[in-house]
Symmetry: C2
Subunit: 241 residues, 2 copies
């Protein structure tokens, strides 16, 4: 197999991942290192989002940069390897949410679980909200989520429990908002994002008599100060060249 591939390449026939299934088994140590890379990357991406460098990953895995680049030619490949499964989790959450006979219950289930996944993993949030590094299979998987949410929203609205002017496309924006709350306060109080989701949920219910219990305390002054220190203005591209 290896022989054949090499020959094909020598003939100027580049081997495209996916066209020919390159399944050459790795040497034992190489396979181990691949696992270490994935493990380190999982943690780093979850903590700091898709912005992490392959250099960071290498360092964190206790390996040289070269090793990482040999196994994953670029960040896209690593991202795909790591997040396919996680996006499938999202799809499953949405499917499970559709199982509820009560549309509001389902919607609640969706938001609670989806936001938990996406808020606690910055990388997953980047995958859902952005498009950088997201190609091929991962992109396709991601596209499966929206229609499910649309059904769910429609159902809850038909039953009159979700406010009628809400739209499925608002969901990613809620994700961005919960993410912002998390990034702002997370240093001082991880999990506080639930407090703000509680507020939003009370704003989404078509009719409500009681208030949802807010599951976390607000930041105290010291914590807010900490958040303040942590805030960085994101550099925006400026268009000129």
């Amino acid at each position: 197999m290896t022989r054949l591939l090499t020959v094909m390449e020598d003939l100027g026939c580049p081997i495209e991942e996916g066209e020919v299934q390159v399944e050459r088994t790795l040497r034992k140590d190489a396979e181990e290192n691949r696992e270490r890379i994935l493990k380190a990357a999982k943690v780093l991406f979850a903590e700091r989002g898709l912005g992490v460098t392959l250099d960071d990953v290498a360092h964190s895995a206790g390996l040289g940069v070269g090793t990482v680049y040999r196994r994953f030619p670029n960040k896209d490949a690593l991202v795909e390897a790591l997040f396919e499964q996680r996006v499938i989790e999202l799809i499953n959450v949405a499917k499970a949410a559709l199982e509820f006979s009560d549309g509001w219950e389902g919607f609640l289930y969706l938001l609670a679980n989806m936001l938990t996944l996406e808020t606690e993993d910055r990388g997953l949030r980047d995958v859902i909200l952005g498009s950088e590094y997201i190609k091929g299979r991962l992109r396709d998987l991601k596209a499966e989520v929206a229609p499910l949410i649309e059904s769910l929203v429609a159902k809850a609205q038909e039953q009159g429990t979700l406010r009628p002017d809400f739209r499925a496309n608002d969901v990613p924006v809620l994700t961005a908002m919960a993410g912002a709350a998390q990034e702002y306060c997370g240093v001082a109080s991880p999990g506080i994002w639930k407090r703000y989701v509680a507020i939003v949920l009370d704003g989404l219910k078509a009719n409500r008599s009681s208030l949802t219990h807010m599951p976390e305390e607000a930041l105290n002054h010291e914590q807010l100060h900490q958040a303040t220190l942590n805030w960085k203005s994101r550099r925006l591209s400026d268009g000129r060249r």
Copy 2:
């Protein structure tokens, strides 16, 4: 005066801004350029936040970098010159909000106006949410806002119109969230942040019978796609050194 200052510096006595009031009048052209810098910076900071470079500002003002650095020794100085007035506006909004006899009306007034100011000016948002570049007078002014909000929240809660588990310290987080909505969707639909603030307000009212009208349409798929392209994972510091 200039003479004196120079001598003092020659003697190794650094001149601190604010200790000695340096009020030497600028040459006419220099004064003009100073205005151009402020004008350009105002626009850039509003659009892209405190992350803009003094080089950016210079270029946008049609001046050389040196000119900008001569007039404003660093970004702190420029930020202070630009945002003092804007923070005073915030203070005035909060004071005006306290004038309402109806606490909820006042709270509504506060959020509507404060969030408008802070959402439409990324720089102001950075000033409020962050601490980078914020020193001296600007810092002091900023500190005047929180107590006003505290009174306002207390008042509305005493009157039973604002949910009792809300805290004044939640306000900056709401700012961060509205800002996130704006940054995510702003390219496709500026002003859409009001849609999400409407939801949040409905979640903050202690009792509500009707829903607040959502002032903007949700993004359509094309717009959402645009938002997706615009999303960048903020690079977080990684702690190692």
